[in-house]
């Protein structure tokens, strides 16, 4: 990514979650889509969760994109996102599966089969 800082990061990743690595929502995957619910952030929200909320301001992001933006490992973002979802500040959607193309031969055979049912000999 452009604009990424070189050098050793000053702030380690464990600080973002307070050392927690187990997400409260284990179903969050790398490609789960996060979006903000628009609810106002309560006072005393940890800085990293605020940063994630801010990143979601502009629209939906996948977990892995948010991780790249916040310069955090995906595992940390999963924890942060889990906490935000628990507080109803963010919502998640299962990853969008890549669409498969239908096999035209199969479709033809299905159509034949249906027609055969329609016009029995």
């Amino acid at each position: 990514m452009t604009g990424r800082r070189g050098g050793r990061p000053l702030v380690p990743a464990y600080l973002s979650t307070g050392g927690v690595a187990r997400p409260s929502r284990p179903q969050l995957e790398r490609l789960s889509v996060l979006r903000s619910t628009g609810a106002p952030a309560p006072t005393g929200l940890p800085a990293a969760q605020l940063a994630l909320l801010d990143a979601l301001d502009d629209g939906s992001l996948t977990v892995v994109e948010a991780a790249a933006l916040l310069r955090l490992p995906v595992s940390a973002v999963r924890v942060l996102a889990g906490e935000l979802i628990d507080r109803d500040l963010a919502a998640s959607r299962a990853p969008i599966p890549t669409a498969d193309r239908f096999d035209p031969d199969l479709l033809k055979r299905v159509a034949d089969g249906l027609r055969a049912l329609k016009h029995p000999r």
């Binding site: 000053l10 284990p26 106002p40 994109e65 595992s75």
Partner: protein, 495 residues
């Protein structure tokens, strides 16, 4: 005739007189000799006494005074005893013995410095190696954190990373105390990042609350980043160590006239006047550091701060008590060590505390307001123009900024930038489908097939393959082609 006897008597008389005189002289001489002998004896006795006294004095010097004087150099409470007999002090011997002690003190001090320097050199070498190894370990751990998502593994990696940070801190502080370089060249960084980085190096980092009142983008020049992180870590460590585990340690970052102040307050017991004076002396860094003076186990934190404040022109003050009851430590960073980073281009770390500064809020608010009409107001412009109260805290700040429309300039733009690179992950916009695979075509093909089979069947039934049937095939193609434009793609394929 008279002459002879006269002469004889005269001579006799003279002889008598001289004999008498001689006798008296002899007697006197004998008496004087006796007196002198007595005097000599007395003197000898006196000399013997003096020699004994001198020997005793030397023995006393060797057995008592020299060890005491040597001890006094490390333990100031030891008193050096005076000479045995007070008369010695008045004699020239007294100052001479004092000179012996002084000479020994000077030589001993020189030896001590030499030995300490050798010990420091040894430790410097060792800690430098350890530090380098720990940085390599850190790289490996962070690489693994990026690579694997498994929560259990991540939990272990987080713990190891934290342990590693703490070891690094210890090695680095020992090296700094021994006069080594901080061991890591960093690039210009946000001041709040340096403080947060210092926080992360401690076991009790959960108890630390950082309040950032700096203008967004307040940064440290590259060579001051690591020293500030080290000093903050040590001040925080002291604060955590000397306060109850259920109390918070509060850090405030504020602008002052000549730079920035980092204030660390703990709610512990505080320090006594003597402890405070000692701590203040150590952090001032005005005296050379001797390892032997740091105690066992050595308390290196304050000594390291002293080394760094001297080298980098930073100021640390421990002289005032905290309003929370404990100690207030203030690190002053002069403006010559400060610089500015564009927070839009290079934001501080995600875990770093937000600025509560009106300027920040102002930016966001102006962006929010201006998005309707202008939306191009440059961030950072007129940071104090709007009258936002300072009593807002960071959460309300983000709450208000949170609803900013997404089509604003500045920060959101930067955030949106990487999105195109990540589109494979979210196929929001379908790729153009090749012409021969369009749903309309598929529908048409199927329609044609159906029409064809129907025609063939009717031909088989009726026996004639009519032009109509063939026309129906081509019509079917045209028809489906035509009608499918009204339907969505999925409908087309499903037919």
């Amino acid at each position: 005739m008279i002459e002879l006897p006269d002469l004889a008597t005269g001579g006799l008389a003279v002889g008598m007189v001289s004999a008498l005189a001689l006798g008296a002289g002899l007697l006197r001489a004998q008496r004087q000799q006796a007196r002198q002998r007595a005097e000599i004896a007395a003197l000898r006795r006196q000399l013997d006494g003096a020699a004994r006294g001198f020997t005793a004095e030397i023995e006393h010097l060797a057995a008592r005074r020299i060890p005491a004087a040597a001890q006094q150099m490390t333990h100031s409470h030891v008193t050096v005893p005076g000479p045995l007999s007070p008369r010695i002090a008045e004699s020239p011997l007294g100052p001479a013995l004092e000179q012996v002690l002084n000479g020994m003190r000077v030589e001993l001090a020189a030896q001590r410095t030499r030995i300490d320097a050798a010990a420091q050199a040894g430790m410097r070498g060792a800690t430098r190696e350890i530090q380098a190894a720990l940085y390599r370990l850190q790289d490996a751990l962070r690489g693994l954190q990026q690579k694997y998502d498994d929560p259990e593994l991540t939990q272990t990696l987080f713990r190891l990373d934290h342990e590693n940070e703490q070891s690094l801190r210890r090695a680095q502080v020992a090296a700094v105390v021994c006069g080594a370089w901080v061991g890591l060249a960093r690039e210009e960084s946000h001041l709040v990042d340096a403080v947060t980085g210092g926080q992360a190096r401690l076991a009790g980092y959960h108890r630390i609350r950082i309040h950032n009142h700096l203008t967004a983008g307040t940064a440290l020049v590259s060579h001051a980043v690591e020293p500030v992180a080290i000093i903050v870590a040590e001040l925080l460590d002291n604060a955590l160590r000397h306060s109850a585990p259920d109390t918070d340690v509060v850090v405030n970052l504020e602008h002052v006239h000549h730079g920035v102040c980092v204030t660390v307050d703990d709610a512990g017991l505080g320090m006594t006047q003597e402890e405070r004076a000692r701590a203040q002396r150590l952090v001032a860094g005005s005296e050379p550091i001797l390892l032997t003076e740091l105690g066992d186990p050595p308390r290196m934190g304050l000594a390291a701060i002293g080394q760094l404040t001297r080298q980098f022109d930073l100021g640390v003050d421990l002289s005032s008590p905290s309003p929370y009851g404990g100690v207030r430590a203030v690190l002053r960073v002069d403006s010559q060590l400060l610089s500015r980073i564009d927070p839009e281009e290079r934001p501080p770390a995600a875990s770093a505390a937000r600025s509560t500064r009106p300027a920040d809020r102002d930016d966001r608010a102006s962006r929010k307001e201006g998005s309707g009409e202008a939306g191009t107001e440059s961030p950072g412009a007129s940071p104090t123009a709007h009258g936002y109260g300072a009593e807002h805290d960071d959460a309300s700040d983000t709450a208000s900024g949170h609803h900013a429309p997404p089509d604003t300039g500045g920060l959101p733009q930067r955030r949106r930038r990487p999105r195109p690179t990540a589109t494979p992950a979210t196929p929001a916009e379908p790729e153009p489908i090749p012409e021969d695979r369009r749903p309309e075509r598929a529908a048409a093909a199927l329609g044609a097939l159906q029409a064809g089979t129907a025609a063939a069947r009717s031909a088989a039934d009726g026996g004639d393959v009519s032009i109509d049937a063939l026309g129906a095939v081509s019509d079917g193609v045209r028809e489906t082609d035509h009608t499918d434009h009204d339907h969505d793609h999925e409908g087309g394929t499903a037919r």
